[in-house]
């Protein structure tokens, strides 16, 4: 008998756990989901109800929408800032159920994102906004969502197919220009130029990151022009530590250790993810034998708060960063998604009026937020993200 009790305990505890966890969910089963409960039973004979699960809320009369947002990975300054803006748009518009989930940083994989998306597709959300880890592998799932009538938008990084709009923060050329010009200016201030070329290195995320890759391509094009040809980027000078914190710190430490004035050293390292740039600043601080700050440059994309300490530290060569307004990006994404789902925005529109942001251009399905913004010691205190 004892063993049956033991097994029963297992079952009860498992159920209890599920029930407990269910209570802590952020959103309850939406109106759309409950309307299909009548149709489905435990042994649903007809699968008709299953395949056409478009929720009732697509008509513009009912503003009850469910918008689901999926970052590359959760809980990191950059994506959290986007979430703040997204939440702001949700609150402003009203009547939206906002779902947010994402993979953890050490498992920022396509599979994880697919798992989350499958759950949302089954619930029949109205809009999905995501920044995919793998632009190619995700398309199958995105198409599945579109087949069920769900509107799919990408933000921050694009997918190769299967999406209706891409909300881009800055054009790839804009990012490249901001980074390369900033680096060139600083290097020139430190004595480098056409008669004293400089080696640069770039720290990206994973090899499959679409947005980083498009920025690298733009940067290479810019480096080939006569203005910047004195900046040398070797083929193997692009590093891919992935999104994990410890790998970023490891590569940053190694790179900072190989910086200096010499021809076989790096004079500038540019981080193109919000993980890499702070890691570079931290690596400099932690370095036992620091390279001469007046001869090297560190810069890159980062949220202002993450590198504020390094910018303010005169001894640290990381004294400026490039970014855009992440909050606005999230805000714009939600606005675009909402307007598209309610029919206010047409598929082939060339402009959108996005709430407090005003009019934004749309080019070939890409909504552009604006220009890159450079922050340094002079204005870094103005930002709090």
């Amino acid at each position: 008998m004892k063993k049956w009790i033991a097994i029963l305990l297992v079952a009860v505890m498992a159920i209890g756990l599920v029930a407990c966890a269910a209570k802590t969910t952020t959103s309850s089963t939406t109106a759309a989901a409950s309307s299909t409960t009548a149709a489905s039973g435990t042994t649903a004979a007809s699968s008709a109800a299953a395949t056409t699960s478009t929720p009732a809320a697509t008509s513009s009369a009912a503003k009850e929408l469910t918008i689901a947002m999926l970052p590359k990975f959760k809980g990191e300054n950059y994506f959290d800032a986007c979430k703040v803006g997204a939440q702001e748009a949700v609150d402003e518009i009203g009547g939206i159920t906002f779902l947010y989930d994402g993979p953890p940083q050490n498992d920022a994989t396509n599979q994880h994102q697919v798992d989350i998306l499958e759950g949302w597709i089954a619930q029949g959300v109205d809009v999905i906004i995501l920044s995919p880890n793998d632009p190619d592998a995700i398309t199958a799932t995105l198409k599945k969502a579109q087949d069920q009538g769900i509107k799919v938008l990408t933000y921050d990084a694009d997918a190769n197919d299967g999406r209706d709009f891409f909300v881009n923060q800055v054009t790839a050329d804009g990012v490249a220009a901001g980074l390369i010009k900033g680096t060139a200016d600083k290097l020139q201030a430190k004595g480098y130029g056409p008669d004293k070329p400089a080696n640069i290195a770039i720290v990206s995320s994973a090899e499959t990151d679409a947005n980083q890759n498009s920025w690298i391509a733009s940067m290479k094009t810019l480096l080939a022009t006569s203005d910047y040809s004195w900046l040398k980027l070797a083929d193997n000078a692009i590093y891919y530590p992935g999104p994990a914190e410890d790998k970023n710190q490891e590569i940053a430490a190694t790179l900072v250790g190989s910086m200096g004035e010499g021809a076989d050293q790096y004079q500038a390292v540019i981080g193109i993810t919000s993980m890499a740039t702070p890691a570079l600043g931290a690596a400099y601080e932690a370095a036992a034998n620091k390279p001469d700050a007046s001869k090297v440059v560190l810069t890159g994309l980062a949220t202002p708060n993450a590198i504020k300490d390094y910018i303010k530290n005169d001894a640290n060569p990381l004294d400026a960063g490039v970014l855009w307004n992440c909050m606005d990006l999230g805000y714009l994404a939600v606005q675009t998604g909402y307007q598209y789902a309610t029919g206010t925005l047409a598929k082939d529109a060339t402009t959108i009026t996005a709430g407090r942001l005003g009019a934004k251009d749309i080019k070939d399905g890409m909504v552009i937020l604006g220009d890159a913004l450079v922050f340094d010691a002079a204005n870094v205190d103005q930002f709090n993200y």
């Binding site: 802590t24 990975f73 959760k74 809980g75 990191e76 300054n77 994506f79 959290d80 994402g102 953890p104 940083q105 050490n106 498992d107 193997n236 590093y239 891919y240 530590p241 994990a244 914190e245 410890d246 710190q249 490891e250 590569i251 430490a253 190694t254 900072v256 250790g257 190989s258 076989d264 702070p278 890691a279 931290a282 601080e285 932690a286 370095a287 036992a288 034998n289 390279p291 708060n305 993450a306 504020k308 300490d309």
Partner: protein, 328 residues
């Protein structure tokens, strides 16, 4: 008599390993650019320090024939705990002991499952690692960032003689203590006894359960120091800081000559194993080989190291088996 024979045969394998590592190190310094530069050595030592400390903890657990695959999850828990405390500006001598205590508690829980409930170590810790690591994302969404300067003190400011990071000193101190204990303490002898044959150990009067629990607790304490080094390296702590690291620690222990089934192995071997694993990534970088091969190299090194030990072991076993048959 069997003891001295065992230790005589065991010494050469550690000697071989240490020679191997030193030779590789020397070759790299000569051949691969700036490998021998102060900065590189220091950054290798930094990585080596936390791998060594954690591997020592794993080593004593594995000597008893057990294992703990939840080390990575526990590191993540401790890192987040330290970030919570550190965010308020509390200095390291507040949050490091807190982490050590937390580690000891979590590891003791593991040990209780193993000793009192007789669940095999690998499976028990497999379950607990999912629980420990799984709780974190519920408390913290992704990471705690923008930590104050007091938090990163250990990595940024704490340098002895201006160059040597304090973390390295800590690692060396712990190593020294472990080596001394290995030679002189009764506690270590108990570990070997348990690892070799639990039943005889019990019959010989050793309180196996208590020793195993204490071992796990010490492992947790020591892991707290390693976690502190890992967490304070930057101003951000993620919920997955230590994920997957237990495999590296187990690898270091195994490469160092400790048997997975317990009963043999030494701290010194583990130290060299840890050193070997820490230099792989920087070595590849300075050799100009793309970092994409680092995982394959790590796997190959572990296989080679363990195969060498195993081939010796097979010969020894065959020799021993013949003796047994002769007796019978």
């Amino acid at each position: 008599m069997k003891n001295t024979k065992h230790s005589k045969k065991a010494m050469p394998s550690e000697l071989a390993l240490s020679l191997f590592v030193i030779i590789i190190f020397a070759v790299l310094c000569l051949v691969a650019g700036d490998f021998g530069s102060v900065n590189n050595i220091m950054s290798i030592l930094n990585r080596f320090s936390y791998i060594l400390i954690a591997s020592i903890g794993m080593n004593i657990i594995m000597l008893t024939g057990n294992i703990d695959v939840s080390f990575g999850g526990i590191i993540s828990v401790m890192a987040i705990l330290e970030a919570f405390i550190g965010k308020t500006g509390a200095p390291i001598y507040v949050f490091m002991p807190a982490a050590m205590l937390c580690g000891a508690l979590l590891c003791t829980f593991n040990a209780l499952l193993i000793t009192k409930l007789h669940i095999p170590a690998i499976v028990a810790t497999l379950a607990t690692t999912q629980i420990y690591a799984g709780v974190l994302p519920l408390l913290v969404e992704g990471s705690i960032y923008d930590l104050p300067k007091t938090f990163t003190w250990l990595a940024f400011d704490a340098k002895v003689f201006k160059y040597v990071p304090l973390s390295v000193i800590l690692a060396l101190v712990i190593l020294a203590v472990a080596l001394l204990m290995m030679k002189y303490s009764r506690y270590f002898k108990k570990l070997y006894a348990i690892g070799n044959n639990v039943k005889s150990a019990r019959l010989a009067g050793i309180d196996v359960d208590k020793t195993v629990i204490v071992t796990y607790a010490i492992g947790g304490l020591v892991l707290g120091v390693a976690a502190t080094i890992i967490a304070t390296a930057g101003q951000r702590v993620t919920t997955t800081m230590g994920a997957g690291m237990e495999m590296t620690f187990i690898a270091a222990v195994v490469v160092g000559g400790t048997s997975v089934t317990g009963g043999s192995g030494s701290i010194l071997g583990t130290a060299f194993g840890a050193l070997l694993l820490s230099i792989i990534s920087p070595a590849l970088y300075y050799l100009g080989i793309s970092d994409t091969w680092s995982t394959a190299v790590m796997g190959a090194i572990i296989i080679i190291a363990v195969s060498v030990g195993a081939i010796k072991g097979v010969r020894r076993k065959n020799a021993g088996a013949e003796k047994e048959e002769a007796k019978a």
